[in-house]
Amino acid sequence: MLSVKNLHAEINGKKILNGINLEVKAGEIHAIMGPNGSGKSTLSAVLAGRADYDVTEGKVSFNGKDLLELSPEDRAREGLFLAFQYPVEIPGVSNINFLRTALNEIRAYKGLPNIEAKDFLALVKEKQALVELDGKLANRSVNEGFSGGEKKRNEIFQMAMLNPMLAILDETDSGLDIDALRIVATGVNKLKRKDNATIVITHYQRLLDYIVPDFVHILYQGKIVKSGGKELALELEENGYDEIKKKYDIAHV
């Protein structure tokens, strides 16, 4: 589904990604872990199409299409979804209006007519329940005045509404208490199917107790330095990043 080959990216001339290779197939959950500053968020931003970053080398294909050639909106329409680490507050735009617009834009891209109001409301109701999101929040401005936990649940709510092929969860666990973490993880697990995939980007192993990955990759200094199964995350939890840092730093001195 997603194939990242030798991806290099920089911001304002500063190199952040130094040759990422990653293959994600339908039905899989991948976890990307790494210490602060290793390039985790840059990777998600580059995949989603944020303009601040320059891709200097490499290729990304998504369902056979050249992802890097697509605008951010077309990536979303093709089925890519980024759950933001810091969801943006947009005063004056109601959550509902925002979602209806997004859903209809995606449908129009696929040649489908606008969703019927009745069907849309039923969908909202169903997906709200999935992340235990208060109905009142749906009618408020996008993320405005939401707590940290509400913002993250709202991200998963949007993901449920837009039903992407590939979801990238960027530090979705940051700032969540244990209950919110459970709700978010349960939502993600319920959305998992054979034909979609998830990339979980996280600093801590904690979230992976709830969302069990098929593969774990360790990102350091803009490169995936180690890949393995879910046991790699546990190893990391025990030993911390120091060992990885030491090993990688030494290897390159």
Binding site: A48, G49, R50, A51, S71, P72, E73, R75, A76, R77, F81, L82, F84, P87, V88, I90, P91, G92, V93, N97, F98, L99, T101, A102, L103, E105, I106, Y109, S141, V142, Q158, L162
Partner: protein, 425 residues
Amino acid sequence: MVTDKLTVTHQLSEELSKISGKAGFMPAAEIGKALQYLEENGIPNNKHEDYKYCNTEAIIRKEFKTLNGKEIKVSKNLKQDYYVNGTYNIYVVNGKLDTKNSEFPARATLTEIENAPADELKKHLSAYAKSTHDAFTALNSAYADRGLFLKITAGVVLDKTIVIHHIINSEDTFFYNIRNLFVVEKNAQVKITETFYPATGKNFCNNLTEIFTGEHAQVNHCRIQNAGNSFYGVDTVQVAQNRYSNYVHSVFTFSGALVRNNLTVSLNDEFSECHLYGLILGKNQQNIDNHTLVDHQKPNCQSNELYKGIATDNCMLTFNGQIFVEKDAQKTNAYQSSKNILLSDDATVNAKPELEIYANDVKCSHGTSTGKVDENALFYLKARGIGEDKAKKLLLHAFAHEVIDKIADVDTAMYVEMLFEHSLN
């Protein structure tokens, strides 16, 4: 250069004398003062601090040198073309009240200003808008030959909104001086919406409205300026507030080659408050200039101001917000905010807050910002599949809504929403 400076003023006076003559309802002494002010100061150009971004002298020299046009009365189809259900629909064509089509509220007095009761004119006319302060006020006092008088008697709470439909219809080049007086007496309440529709002909409209709000009176005044791009207007609103009165002013500007708004509110007695809102959508070569002045004269008054501008193409938007807190005006609360979005590299925004505070126990704040559409918000919307154009529109709607939401009358709000939507496209 003095003679040069007055050439335009003299020319205009001469032309105006031909088409309208001196204001009949204005006391001769006031006209005298006004003419003297004009003779001493002339029509302002950009060297005048208050008209720095609004060179009216140059515009009149270039566009209104000769007033060879004429006004054309329209009376047919007014109700079909302009009508708001559930309101008092008042039609004003070229500044003149259409008595045949208008629906007059039984509990208010609404007449041509020349038919206003003499005692009201004596009491209020030119009492608030001083002919010795501003050239367009002087010009208006000297030459206004038409306008409205509205009075809401003490204690009357008007059930429905008064919607004043302003239709300007001229042939060729014409210049209007329109004088209005609204008196809202003690304990009275009224909602007024004024809509200026796209005008025919090339018009300069010097429209001046004096408003008096009595004790505990509540006035909600909404103005929609959409007179089209062959329209040039200086629009002066001068409000005098008595104690415990509340005046809300919202202005929405969608078109006009030149729109200069001079809005002055004097909080003349304790516990009065005013709320001033503006939403301006500037396009092509438009020059839209809002000057506001809130004069806190007495203690315990409150003023709140929010002006928002969206500038596209090569238009110029100006916001100049003055707040005076006089020595006497302790416990004043005065807030002002102006926010602007620039959608084009060729558009200009001038924003200038001016606070003068002479009292020592006051709360005053002001803020102004001008920038592009929030890039983070834009990316967030795009990352959900919403195209650039639509995403921008969503954000501009959100920006505008903070002001549109302040409109008390539902139909007016819907109409403004529709005009906004239409103007964005």
